[in-house]
């Protein structure tokens, strides 16, 4: 394909080479390299399922071009924690029943981490505002908001770097 080139994306701390055309989104590039934990929902910035952290800021990977993501730190949900060593947000979502079908969960947790990076002690309203770009079609919002509040307070207690 014309307008293709090899780029190096730093995903969850590892450099990965991929050859993509200029019009490829970061979402498509991530899923092509096996990072299917990043979900493809609306592809127009409404649902937040594709959220990833780029240099610690939550963005929609469907609205970002892969080429412009070179040289930046990309973090997906898998970069936050593992089943054996879950991140406090992942543990809180598990323990407080904040995931139903689970499709929105990666984006929700990334958006929540984005909120906490900005403000380690968000109020309920600030959490709501921070998650207003994430849709949950199971509509399990109450437990999601509880889990984020709980995780934020756990992270403050443990003095975890945000």
């Amino acid at each position: 394909m014309k307008n293709s080139k090899e780029i190096i994306l730093k995903i969850n701390g590892r450099n990965e080479k991929i050859t993509v055309p200029s019009h490829r989104t970061l979402l498509e590039a991530l899923r092509e390299t096996g990072h299917v934990e990043v979900k493809c929902g609306c592809e127009k910035g409404d649902c937040g399922a594709c959220a990833v952290l780029v240099d610690n800021v939550a963005i929609d990977s469907c609205l970002t071009l892969a080429w412009t993501s070179e040289g930046k730190e990309i973090t997906t949900i898998s970069g936050l924690g593992t089943p054996d060593e879950p991140h406090p947000l992942q543990a809180a979502f598990r323990d407080l029943g904040a995931a139903q079908c689970g499709f929105c969960t990666p984006g929700m947790i990334i958006a929540a981490q984005g909120v906490i990076n900005d403000n380690p002690a968000p109020t309920d309203d600030e959490i709501r505002m921070g998650l207003s770009g994430n849709l949950c079609r199971c509509t399990g919002y109450a437990k999601i908001l509880d889990a984020v509040g709980h995780a934020a307070s756990e992270m403050r207690k443990n003095g975890e770097p945000s």
Partner: protein, 285 residues
Amino acid sequence: MYGEFKLEMPQQLDEALALIAEDPAEVLSGGTNLMIELRARKLRPEQVVSLDALSELRGIEVDGNRITLGARTTISDILRCDDMAEFGPSLLDAANLFAGQMVRNMGTVGGNIACSSPAADLVPPLMSLDAEITLVSSKGTRKVALCDYYLSYKKDVRAPSEMITSVSWKKLAKNSSNSFYKLARRIGDAITVTGVAVTLTMDGDRCTTARIALGAVAPTVFRATNAEKILEGQILTDDLITTAAQQAKAQSSPISDVRASAEYRLHTVGKLTHRLLTQARDKLV
């Protein structure tokens, strides 16, 4: 998913300006609008020029009496600015109700202005602050009052070789009130049905300056200048505010769409203009 295009990622503003001077191009800032248009094939550019590397265009500066936002300043940057409640209360109101977190982190002031949507939420606040934008091309720089920028639906005075690099305004005069109200079908992440931004400056009980900027109720965001004229130089009685609100309504020409009927939009322009003017007066007098 997208049509193919040549993607340029200039490292310097001069380089970006040279690129858009040579060949027609779409300028990519935050991408929260342009990427959607590209995907829907509403736009099929040969060339896209990404401003991603131009960090010089991002930031909030205060020089004496003037506040300047670089075009690449994001909605989140506005929210993080401690002094925004003083510099531009209406702009802060709009940023607080702007889309969702990720879009606020990506979307930029310049992009919101340049997309020329009548529902661009930063525009009524900026217009109510008498903001001016800086347009730069490889041939030079010009300043345009934001209220003179839009020509018709998605049409503006920007030439293809020009780029918005900043937007600036004068600090609010003493004894001023400035606010924005966004009416939408829900609070978070929704497109505006009716947007009203108001600035009032009072000298005692007399109004010296009035600005009323209306969004999503005409082909472009615009100032309800007839309503402003009714108020300036006058003592703001309830009757006068009612007349001004009716004028704002008379200057609007909304359409019906999936979000609201034209009739409802007209009704709410009148009501919201009345409400914001009354609140501003009561705060100042």
